[in-house]
Amino acid sequence: MTFATQIDKQQVQALLEALEQDDRSQASHLLDELTKIREGELHQQLRVLTQNLHQTLDDLDLDTPILLHAKHDLPDITERLRYVIDETQTASEKTLGSAENALSFLEQLESILSEGMTEESRKDGKPLIEQCSSELTNIMLAQSYQDLTGQVLNRVILIVTALEESLRELIQRSKHEFHAIPDKHVDEMQRKQQEAHGVGPNVTAKSKQDAVESQDDVDDLLDDLGI
């Protein structure tokens, strides 16, 4: 959907002339007029857009996919993602607990063996080795979270893809050109603010563009600065 502007060439020319002649009050007056026209246009555009959206929503049947998604799948997604966070946290804690125990058993074994290999040390060492091996098995078992969370995440991907499809359809039904939606623009200041707060791991192809690939890249970068 496009809107013709009501601003005409003469008005812009008059503004340019006023600016060239350094007639500030005239320039400011003309600029106000142009802004007024533009604001009026924006309001009109908004009105049309809202009407369209209302109409589109009115036209939707209650079993339209987007409505079903909104009611059933979206809350579902949040629940599923929370499950993934909980499961990974639990698995991580189990793994760390077992690894810490195993390290401590090895430490005890090391101190027993440092006194030489005797019948006594053999007897004391054996249960430590058994406990250590049981902790390693626990670590292995804790990795089963990957299967469970993988399944849940795959399901989330399916729902999000379907939702994206429905939204696209909704946009088209409200008579908008999907490809005419402008690119998301982040200005320098916003980018800096986001980066200062932290943007997390650079997962998407786009976010990888300005990111280092490895610790070696970081080291090279800092080397150049003498750090």
Binding site: Q89, S92, E93, L96, A99, E100, L103, K192, E195, A196, H197, G198, V199, G200, P201, N202, D210, A211, V212, S214, Q215, V218, L221, L222, L225, I227
Partner: protein, 134 residues
């Protein structure tokens, strides 16, 4: 070069598992005195006590970021020389340069290895020793 393994280390990260991993790795490297903080804002009053010889911090935390904590440390006359290592998933070139400008002593991107941590600590304290002897 001998590093003082008795030094007091502050580990700052909002994820408890990450704090645990870092602490375990430091333990493996022979260090034994750690405290933990879950955000820059809780770390800063602890740092101000003057207790810590080394700060290891994450960048992205809810209240006060690691880079802000670093700036606070560098701006304080009594604390400004405290060695500061960032361990973070933030990997934009501009962010690494930002950290360098703020005066970071080492920068490790997650996920990382025990060898990388060891190497950075060696490097940081070699430079501290150099600074003290000069």
């Amino acid at each position: 070069m001998q590093i003082n393994r008795d030094m007091n280390i502050l580990v700052v990260d909002d994820f408890s598992t990450m704090r645990r991993i870092v602490k375990n790795l430091l333990k493996e490297l022979g260090f034994s005195k750690f405290d933990e903080a879950d955000d820059g804002s809780t770390a800063w009053p602890m740092v101000q006590s003057g207790k810590y010889d080394f700060i290891v911090s994450d960048w992205n935390m809810p209240q006060m970021t690691g880079i802000d904590l670093l700036r606070h440390v560098r701006a304080d006359e009594n604390l400004k020389d405290t060695p500061f290592l960032l361990i973070t998933a933030e990997a934009k070139r501009s962010q690494i340069l930002e950290a360098a400008q703020a005066g970071v002593d080492g920068y490790i991107v997650k996920p990382f290895t025990a060898a990388t941590l060891n190497e950075k600590i060696q490097k940081i304290f070699a430079r501290v020793a150099e600074r003290q002897s000069s």
